[in-house]
């Protein structure tokens, strides 16, 4: 089912300024109709599947189900969204069997797919097999007047990557433990930043940018790599542009923020949710104050606090529509008047619900 809402009706309903929708129907496309030639569009975002091999042809059922459900639902969206992004961590331990099994599930998507590299895809063979499946690890493309950039943000130092571990399997295991103190901070790195600078030199500052990374290109909590070590350097390259939107996975939870011209939105995992970092009592963390947290997950509902997203692009800004399987859907949309993303239902403190309190 699809619904056409005119800009005028949205304004009349008092949602003026916020990108996105009045009502959110789980498997529907709700578009804003603009006068003139402006081309607004929607794409689908699926992330963090963590396909995990038990042995042979046997994989963890729970994580398989999450990815299969997201793919099935994404295919039901009408009209079809323009393309699908997969946000990284297709595999749990970077194994060929895991990447192949995940790729087989993703192959059922009817729309064109672009992929982002996650650390769970990378640290076994340094992305070699993933690249055979999905091509370059960083690249850019243009779509309907928007410049899209995909970064590999989960790189780290050569010393850690090449010289510290006796085997590739151990290197992968050390990076796979989110809270493992033997891990290493993620970074985009100098080489890729030079590429980014060159890529951006060809783009006018009026062109909206959408940047995809696996880790947040902002610093939230280093202990779990909710963090990119050279985030400030990357942000500095993006700040001259009028409308910049960064979308990231890795954190398995809803986060959003605004730093200068850059809006940040995270996406959900299809596999499992992660706690908000401040719930770890032994370390300081910095969840953006704008973020209204998602509901605390209920483990008795296997797919609770996981899901996928429809991303609307309007006037160079995005609205992330979270398709949450055991909760009401949420929409976090850029508010032009306030100049930052807001949750359309829960932003006001008085509108929040007890399950959104994490401790």
């Amino acid at each position: 089912m699809s619904k056409l809402i005119t800009r005028r009706s949205v304004m009349a309903a008092g949602a003026a300024g916020a990108v996105g929708t009045l009502t959110t129907l789980p498997i529907s496309m709700v578009r804003l109709a603009f006068g003139g030639t402006r081309d607004d569009f929607t794409f689908t975002y699926i992330s963090d599947a963590h396909i995990q091999q038990i042995k042979g042809a046997s994989f963890v059922r729970n994580w398989d189900q999450g990815l299969k459900r997201a793919v099935a639902e994404a295919n039901l969206v009408k009209p079809e969204s323009d393309f699908v992004m997969f946000g990284g961590d297709l595999a749990q331990l970077g194994k060929k069997d895991e990447l192949d099994h995940g790729a087989e599930i993703l192959s059922h998507l009817s729309a064109k797919m672009h992929c982002v590299m996650g650390e769970h895809d990378y640290y076994l063979d340094l992305g070699e097999y993933w690249s055979k499946l999905y091509g370059p690890q960083h690249y850019s493309f243009d779509h309907k007047g928007v410049h899209f950039i995909v970064l590999n943000s989960i790189l780290t130092t050569d010393e850690w990557t090449l010289h510290r571990w006796p085997s590739a399997e151990q290197r992968m295991q050390e990076m796979a433990g989110l809270d493992n103190p033997n891990g290493s901070p993620f970074m985009v790195g100098e080489k890729q930043r030079a590429w980014l600078k060159e890529d951006l030199a060809k783009v006018s500052h009026e062109t909206p940018l959408v940047v995809f990374s696996h880790s947040p290109l902002q610093k939230i909590y280093k202990g779990w790599n909710f963090w990119t070590d050279d985030a400030e350097e990357v942000q500095a390259l993006l700040q001259p542009f009028n409308s910049v939107n960064v979308i990231y996975g890795h954190v398995h939870q809803i986060q959003y923020n605004q730093i200068g011209n850059i809006s940040f939105n995270s996406v959900m995992a299809t596999a499992w949710p992660w706690p908000y970092p401040q719930t770890y009592a032994q370390a300081e963390s910095h969840l953006p104050v704008l973020t209204v947290q998602m509901n605390r997950g209920d483990p008795f509902f296997e797919r609770d606090a996981t899901g996928w997203q429809l991303i609307d692009v309007n006037s160079g800004r995005i609205a992330a529509r979270y398709q949450l399987w055991d909760n009401d859907p949420r929409t976090v949309a850029f508010d032009h008047k306030q100049g930052h993303p807001v949750d359309l239902a829960f932003q006001e403190p008085t509108n929040r619900r007890p399950p959104q309190t994490h401790y």
């Binding site: 995990q52 038990i54 963890v60 729970n62 989110l178 499992w272 770890y280």
Partner: protein, 132 residues
């Protein structure tokens, strides 16, 4: 009663002269803390091990640093179980479901290690029994 007295008498006779039940030294508390922390370390190893269940899934995959386990709130009414429950019951629920494994006895040394690790990561947080 007579038997208890006999055991006490035996205990007293074996004790070094001057030892008293309520006295211990810094060396003792250091040793006890070391014992505790070694069980915490066992718990961390179990928490991050894929071998606790049958499908290779580890507790730490969903609960980094044992976050979102709220040991300070137990015992509490666990809405999914429909009764007041202890933390070990929830650990067993996770062992049976996401980890597709077998539950542990409440006093199994592995359960003691897991509960020790969960509490250690939550140290300093005020007790809040019953809180959902």
């Amino acid at each position: 009663m007579r038997r208890t007295l006999a055991v006490l008498a035996l205990g007293l006779s074996l004790a070094a002269p001057g030892a008293r039940a309520d006295e211990f030294t810094k060396a003792d508390t250091d040793r006890w803390q070391k014992e505790y922390l070694s069980v915490v370390a066992d718990g961390r190893a179990l928490w991050t091990s894929g071998a606790l269940g049958t499908n290779g899934v580890a507790c730490g995959q969903c609960h980094p640093n044992a976050a979102n386990t709220h040991p300070e709130t137990y015992p509490k009414f666990q809405k999914q179980l429909g009764k007041v429950a202890q933390l070990f019951e929830m650990v067993n629920w996770c062992l049976k479901n996401p980890l597709e494994g077998k539950p542990l006895a409440a006093d199994d040394p592995k359960m003691t290690a897991i509960i020790s690790y969960v509490n250690q990561e939550r140290r300093g947080v005020k007790l809040a029994p019953g809180t959902h």
